[in-house]
Symmetry: C2
Subunit: 245 residues, 2 copies
């Protein structure tokens, strides 16, 4: 079972104050890039893996999706998601991404935002997603970038010559990383870009787009401190389509 850090009261309290928790999709700097990878929503049967407060589910429904199923391991998040959703096309289901019982076929789009780095058995999940998506259907997700998850002790450092750098190590050592993020002992699973792409390809997905997200010029102009994101990517965005054969 995946770690359910979001139901830790301290974590949940801190996370709930995040810009993206308060403002929703528009509070997430990478959302415009992720949205650009999505197909037109009209009539689609959609699933969101790690739906959190349900922001994407409600957006998809408002954009014309025929049905939207959000799943999350966190009771706290689903409770707020339910309370904020009035749209009958959106349903929520509590579930563990490590052991998700997805239907075969029937979905046009599977979406996931910043959840899959919590999943240890990614191959198993990709297999289930591939089965659940119709041929030609789409899988769009973001995860923390492997450059961000790799270090045993992640964080910026200033070198003797004054350069601020992201000290990288252990990139090739895939596996769990225990970090302190909002609370102590958050477990993420580090995998390289190549590993994720090859898992998708072997399942039968065609890679359509790979984006190591960076702030746009507009975002840099409005938020100068975002410039640090130019030194190492924090997010990896992938769009893949289920092949027909």
């Amino acid at each position: 079972m995946a770690q359910n850090i979001y139901d830790d009261p301290e974590f949940f309290g801190a996370y709930s104050n995040f810009r993206r928790s308060v403002l929703g999709l528009d509070g997430a700097a990478e959302w415009p890039s992720l949205r650009a990878l999505l197909p037109p929503m009209q009539g689609l049967r959609v699933m969101d893996l790690g739906c959190g407060f349900g922001w994407f589910c409600r957006w998809a429904s408002e954009a014309g999706a025929a049905s939207v199923l959000g799943t999350d391991i966190s009771e706290n998040m689903l409770a707020r998601a339910l309370a904020e959703t009035v749209d009958g096309a959106v349903r929520y289901l509590r579930g563990d991404l490590e052991a998700l019982d997805l239907p075969s076929g029937g979905l046009d789009l599977v979406y996931s935002s910043l959840a899959l780095h919590y999943v240890e058995k990614l191959e198993q999940l990709f297999e289930a997603v591939h089965r659940a998506i119709i041929p030609g259907g789409t899988f769009v997700f973001s995860v923390e970038h492997p450059i961000y998850t790799a270090p045993v002790d992640p964080g910026w450092t200033t070198l003797a010559d004054g350069r601020r750098v992201w000290p990288l190590d252990s990139y090739q050592r895939e596996g769990p990383r225990t970090t302190d993020w909002l609370v102590k002992g958050v477990v993420k699973h580090h995998r390289t870009v190549g590993t994720m792409l090859n898992l998708l390809i072997r399942q039968g997905f065609a890679i359509r787009h790979v984006e190591e997200w960076r702030p746009t010029a507009d975002q840099l102009a409005v938020t100068p401190q975002a410039a640090q994101e130019m030194d190492r990517p924090m997010f990896l965005l992938i769009a893949a389509d289920r092949r027909f054969a």
Copy 2:
């Protein structure tokens, strides 16, 4: 025109003493991984971009390729390649990868080893390669990994706490990097993994495999100092097939 550092006498002298320059393919730790991405050579029409001393060209011919054309910008390297090649199926052509006049169609495999990071106009080259490869044909290449090319001042550093790390910066700032490698002022072109993959996809290639090369367990046992390669990838290996439609 691409920088022709290989015809700098000092560079050429130092490069000629490299393990891979003396031992050929078997002197390159990543060769088994690159070879694993190649189709069976029997009967193939092959081109090698940046063929250097012609090791791969001769290997491909011995492995049964119908014809092999090696191209390189360096007169020095081609002179040695020619001198060491007796096989009539192998031809060499001096050419600049920035302005390569490739035929339309007719090639089954385009190969390139550690040359494309010298190319500024990669999109133009990928377009030419796509045109030159028949539908279903293959493009396999290695380049220096973007994590390796990104830093403005690349090199390992030891932090105050004793950790040896690869200080990463400027990953998202694509463009030329001037480094001192064997001689001063070697110009490489830094591009992210995402940029290279998306350029291939947009040209009409299907990504088949993406490998951020790491030493095998066997290699680590024989060469313990290769362990540093576990901290950051040095090479990126990509296999892509020209789509039929």
